[in-house]
Symmetry: C2
């Protein structure tokens, strides 16, 4: 191949390489894509189906759960969820209260904060966890197949502490 | 400008656009850059200096703290920390226990999990929070000026729950 031909091809290659990252860059498209991903996550939860849940994840997803367990890579993240979805979370209702924010970080990534209400459940140690509100940070990667969960950190909202928030809550916030 | 000239320029433009994102893409460089950022964060904490702490943040940083407060944008994130650093966290020791993971997400972003030990403190409502271990997810954006905090979610580790972890902890994990 001639050098001239290589250069002539370069613009097309560059566009191909960046297309997935910018394919859904409008805020409206991002919001719709995020809503679809969260609906799929919720449906997988309701079905106690960890395999389904992590089809929308990257292979190297990391997950830090509400009690600070840190799972690294899809195999471990999926297995941990399989165990919990088939035991303590089976039949526990989970509803999306709000998507509080969708913020692009660079071209490839969206940072989302979603607020979930989760029903009461009993932990393996016998602790009866009451119904809670959780604020979940989802770091989503744009891929040619759509958004994928790349990092999740899930924090239980301490209702009593909110009165001491130095910042007035946003209208949508709990 | 001739159409041919436009095409000839395209490859150079594409390289320029991606250069900051790939400037420090080696794992060793990333680890060093992350260590430097965490050291600066810790120094700002020790100095009770919120302005210093958020010079290493993006303008649209979001932060979800250990009790689930969600602060949006540098002005609010910095003000919340100013209030807490000057009151309940003043003089409270915080030490880095481990950088558990550094995972690139696309070209622009690193997802880091760092484990901190934090001394006891008293909340505004009078609750005496005991010393804790926190797992902090830091989503860092590569910029021409270096890594910047773009999203942080900080989770207190529930020590009792760790015995029920379905996944054997990594050697480095608490």
């Amino acid at each position: 191949m001639h050098r001239r031909q290589l250069f002539a091809m370069a613009p097309a290659l560059a566009l191909t390489a960046t297309a997935p990252a910018t394919a859904s860059a409008s805020p409206a498209d991002d919001a719709a894509d995020v809503a679809a991903l969260l609906a799929e996550y919720q449906a997988a939860w309701a079905a106690s189906d960890a395999a389904r849940m992590f089809r929308i994840a990257t292979d190297d997803i990391h997950w830090v759960n509400v009690v600070g367990m840190h799972w690294q890579g899809k195999a471990d993240v999926e297995e941990a969820h399989r165990v919990y979805l088939e035991t303590l979370f089976r039949g526990v209702p989970m509803a999306l209260e709000a998507v509080e924010s969708v913020v692009p970080i660079g071209a490839d990534v969206l940072a989302v904060v979603a607020r979930w209400s989760v029903g009461a459940y009993t932990t393996p140690s016998g602790f009866e966890a009451p119904a809670s509100i959780d604020r979940m940070s989802l770091i989503l990667k744009r891929t040619p197949e759509g958004l994928r969960m790349a990092h999740v950190a899930n924090i239980e909202v301490n209702a009593r502490a909110q009165a001491s928030n130095p910042i007035r809550p946003a209208p949508d916030a709990a």
